[in-house]
């Protein structure tokens, strides 16, 4: 039993490393070859865990080979359009301004009901509102509404507004991010003083994020959120935003 537990732990970490090396696309929007590799990985990882007579390396070696293959395919498909089309396929137009493209939906084994479902899923009741509907290579459906159904934007209204500022997390779960403190040029003592105004210490903070316009969002354990505006930099300037480290 101990051997099984240890094998399981080893395989877990190996698969974790392999997935990390393969990248985030492996756990999000998968192309056909990503799907193939993910399915094989899942199967390979369980074999040496389930059967002790099979060496652990018999599971690990194919995982490494698949990672290398995946890297090569990704690399080549980035460089060569032909290879990319071969490996990933091409996006297919399902609906055009002329209406549903029957031939294309047949090729994809889809029905008109599926197209209607995708239409509703995208937030449109009628096909009339849609200019284009495209099946992407990763299986997602993109919808381009026609001008009558599309939402009005600020630029349509010619309203000039500043872009929203990305808040930087300075404290989360009672842990101060010194890196973000440095990036934003926020002074630690000023931050502690600010917290003492609310009778709190860093450890008691659930979250504190700071936008470059000086807006502070603070939540202390067991209390409601506080949104305020204060400059916490020593020179009195607004905090910087470059190279934010996401928490």
């Amino acid at each position: 039993m101990i051997v099984n537990i240890l094998r399981c732990v080893i395989i877990y970490f190996i698969v974790l490393i392999v997935i990390r090396v393969m990248g985030k696309r492996q756990i999000a929007q998968m192309q056909p070859f990503d799907v193939v590799i993910t399915l094989i990985i899942a199967d390979l990882a369980t074999i040496p865990v389930a059967d002790q007579s099979i060496p652990l390396l018999n599971g690990i070696v194919p995982l490494f080979v698949l990672t290398i293959l995946h890297f090569l395919f990704t690399f080549v498909s980035c460089k060569n359009l032909g290879v990319r089309h071969f490996l990933n396929g091409k996006p297919v137009i399902l609906v055009s301004p002329q209406g549903i493209l029957e031939e294309n939906i047949k090729k994809l084994n889809m029905t008109v009901a599926d197209v209607m479902e995708a239409c509703r899923y995208a937030g449109f009741i009628s096909l009339e509102d849609i200019n284009y509907m495209i099946m992407e290579t990763n299986g997602n459906i993109s919808v381009l509404p026609n001008s009558d159904a599309s939402q009005i934007t600020r630029s349509d209204m010619k309203i000039d507004m500043e872009d929203d500022k990305m808040p930087v997390v300075l404290i989360s779960h009672g842990k101060l991010s010194r890196e973000n403190l440095k990036i934003t040029a926020v002074d630690e003592n000023l931050l502690i003083d600010f917290l003492s105004d609310y009778n709190a210490t860093i450890k008691e903070v659930v979250i504190l994020h700071y936008a470059s316009d000086g807006t502070i969002y603070l939540q202390i354990k067991g209390e409601s959120k506080i949104v305020t505006n204060k400059i916490l930099t020593q020179d009195g300037k607004m905090p910087k935003q470059e190279q934010i480290k996401m928490e």
């Binding site: 490393i17 090396v21 007579s53 060496p55 070696v61 290398i68 890297f71």
Partner: protein
């Protein structure tokens, strides 16, 4: 990207190391056990050595196999390794009892086991497919 390339290079190095290890260990072990086994069979048929001398030869190859079996188990299925050790021990037991005929039977079986192991362990087209 740099980190990914480093990781891929490490994977490639590990794979190359494992392939080299497999080739050296497998061919070396199987060839040595096979050669010694044939030699013992030859001597047993020719009645050229006493049972105890044959026993000593088998004992040495048994120790060698036990040592190498641990390494082979890292890369091959444990079940494929079992028979060889078993046959060596059985042949030794019969030689200890001065029953050369039974010992020869097990040595012949050992030769067969080694041949079938070669089929399983070596790199060849049937194994590949």
């Amino acid at each position: 990207m740099k980190g990914k390339i480093i990781a891929i290079c490490i994977f490639l190095l590990i794979l190359a190391g494992l392939v080299a290890f497999e080739v050296v260990i497998t061919y070396d072990t199987v060839n040595k056990v096979k050669a010694t086994n044939y030699k013992v069979i030859e001597l047993a048929y020719a009645d050229a050595e006493s049972d105890m001398e044959l026993y000593d030869r088998l004992d040495k190859i048994g120790d060698y196999w036990a040592e190498r079996e641990n390494l082979l188990c890292l890369i091959f299925n444990h079940k494929d390794m079992l028979e060889v050790g078993k046959e060596i021990e059985q042949a030794k037991s019969y030689l200890k009892l001065n029953n050369k005929d039974e010992a020869i039977v097990h040595l012949e079986l050992l030769a067969e086991d080694i041949l079938s192991m070669e089929h399983i362990l070596y790199f060849n087209l049937p194994n590949l497919l």
